[in-house]
Symmetry: C2
Subunit: 396 residues, 2 copies
């Protein structure tokens, strides 16, 4: 049987590759501390479950294809408080930020097209771009420069006749890099000058740790044709299993094309939309508490990393990830060794090896992504295991 | 700004085209009887809402990408009762049957490929196929033959070097056509002999009205490489807003490719999966009652249609749709006229004009799809309005 050449070019998630080794380690009785996945342990606000419990329609009907008005209005209200004013038709409710990204890319990328993405990047972009027949053109960065990419010369050097868009994951996953307002302005200007879309994947918008105001590409009203914002309740409200996100743009032609996809899949789940609307009633105290909790964890990770000789890691400014270069030959080999041959009092640790976050072959080979989604004591133990592991691996 | 040539070729839903006319009619105070949409009015089983209310995890976490084991097991159990035995890895949970179709098509259709689909067909197939860069190659049918398509000669005449798959919507939407077991065997044989996938879109499996046992392409274990089954809780349990469906196939390579898509969009909503699993505990009495209700409605529609001179409509054997040729020049013009210029005591009626269900230009122009999803009294009234409308339209 013949399959699509596009899907044949795609791979499975690089994070899943180590799952069989993890299963084998657990079967041997090892306890694994997970720094490898971005599933927060923060409780979902009760407002979500209350709304779910109070849903009382006798027929669970289709929702409208663009999304339920109650949720669209809640999102408009959230943005209005950040001084961004969107019309209802600028917002399309999607199955998580993931579907918003898929729809956006399917609307703007054709066979042979390129999208500029700073590397390292969120690995699922690979499948999203590849299944459009397009390819990722990486913007190179360096661990010792904190994975900084907002440099006009560096970016313009990568633009060619195939370039259609720039992806701006801000705050960054896996790097935690956060753009300054001036850098965002400059990124938008590049998009405008070169006639490109600029996609702001802003899933981690609430997670910035230097007290700076929350920023969004949606603020740049002069670039209404260029800017696409991707948003989601997943991380903001620790509601990953709701699968509620949205695609936001003032580009009317883009939104008309996106509606074709939206109608084709009919709608997004009704109860999750109603419950997600209730999340937006959660006040700023919730965000502040969550932000403080993650900041403490980030500081723990950074303190522990600095104690390990040979580690390169600039302090991440946002999201809940840190990308670090380790003093090991190969992070994938090191991960497998940690699962197969290492333990400290029966414990070992998992992270996400860096290679899967790069498009350029061979890059990121000694880097890892740490997701600091564990409670303080577990995080300290996990980081100690990492340090002990590096020492034992290099002395083996 | 440049958009994907694939999305530019797609259109909006043909069912939505009449929405502005409906809004205008309602603003004038007209009451509209809706025979145009497939949203059932049957109550969703209480088991769904009970499961929703009892969900008590403090963190709404991501579900596994292939789906939650509790739901996969419930679906396996349902099929086992129909004497079809699937391994857990043969079943991928999706965002409704729609996503299952999108994933299947993206895995098997490449630029320039063709999929054979009997016309008239479910219009969303257009966008699904078109965004893969492929095209629908229609298998022609006739209203006076009850839209029968299961004819080896007719189908083989349409197969060429671009053909990759046959779509078999059974029971049919919009036609209500139901294949016999012999016809299903023959369709599967054609797929095997020509090395094609055969997709069974079986959303309406429970809705067959002649007392025949429930059939599925999944029964043909000798065609494990060819058969893909699309299923959903939407119609079976009147739970369209759950957006829970699945892709089923014993073709391991196909399922491996499908998993790439599944991982890329992370997962399907957690609470809807848990609640949908509970639906599968609903007993055969529920299905029997629902089936009887729809059968009564179908009989009403057929009785009423037969009273209208000049209507061509073979009695549909399944689903909850009837496709009929009307004695009017153009069903779209007739629909707009019904909304703008017709009423009987302030009432008018909507259906789905037939043209949007055909790939061949000009076909279906005097046909309509009737969705019999209204309670008995409303359905009688809606059909009377249709009869009065035809008379008034042709005498205008």
């Amino acid at each position: 049987m013949k399959f699509s050449t596009k899907v044949e070019k795609c791979g499975l998630s690089p994070m899943r590759k180590f799952h069989p080794y993890a299963v084998a380690a657990q079967e041997k009785g090892k306890k694994i501390y997970h720094l490898n996945i971005g599933q927060p342990d923060i409780e979902t606000p009760k407002a979500y479950f209350d709304a779910v419990k109070h849903f009382d329609q006798p027929v669970l009907e289709y929702a409208p294809s663009p999304g339920m008005p109650v949720l669209i209005e809640a999102i408009r209200g959230y943005y209005a408080k950040l001084n961004m004013h969107f019309a209802p038709e600028d917002i399309l409710i999607t199955n998580g930020g993931s579907e918003a990204l898929q729809i956006a890319m399917n609307c703007i990328l054709d066979d042979g097209d390129e999208i500029l993405i700073p590397e390292p990047f969120y690995p699922n972009y690979n499948t999203m771009v590849c299944t459009c027949g397009a390819s990722i053109h990486p913007i190179p960065t360096k661990p010792e420069e904190g994975y900084h990419y907002a440099d006009r010369k560096k970016i313009e050097a990568e633009i060619n006749e195939h370039t259609r868009a720039i992806m701006c994951t801000n705050p960054g996953n896996p790097t935690g890099t956060v753009l300054t307002p001036e850098e965002m302005r400059m990124m938008v200007d590049i998009a405008k000058e070169h006639g490109l879309f600029i996609i702001g994947d802003e899933a981690y918008r609430e997670f910035v740790y230097a007290g700076e105001p929350l920023q969004s590409l949606g603020e740049f009203e002069d670039a209404a044709e260029n800017v696409i914002v991707i948003d989601t309740v997943s991380k903001r409200f620790s509601a990953c299993g709701a699968r509620i996100g949205c695609l936001i743009s003032r580009n009317k032609e883009l939104m008309a094309h996106a509606m074709k996809y939206a109608q084709c899949r009919l709608c997004v789940p009704t109860i999750d939309q109603v419950a997600s609307a209730a999340l937006y009633d959660v006040g700023p105290a919730y965000f502040a508490a969550v932000r403080d909790e993650y900041k403490r964890r980030r500081d723990t990770v950074m303190r522990k990393l600095q104690e390990i000789p040979g580690v390169v890691c600039e302090c991440p400014k946002g999201a809940f990830y840190a990308m670090a270069a380790l003093p090991v030959d190969d992070a994938e080999k090191f991960q497998i060794w940690l699962l197969e041959h290492f333990d400290d009092h029966g414990d070992t640790v998992m992270f996400a090896p860096g290679g899967g976050f790069y498009a350029t072959p061979g890059k990121g080979i000694n880097e890892i992504r740490i997701a600091y989604v564990l409670k303080q004591a577990d995080l300290e133990r996990a980081m100690d295991l990492l340090a002990l592991g590096i020492q034992a691996y290099n002395n083996r």
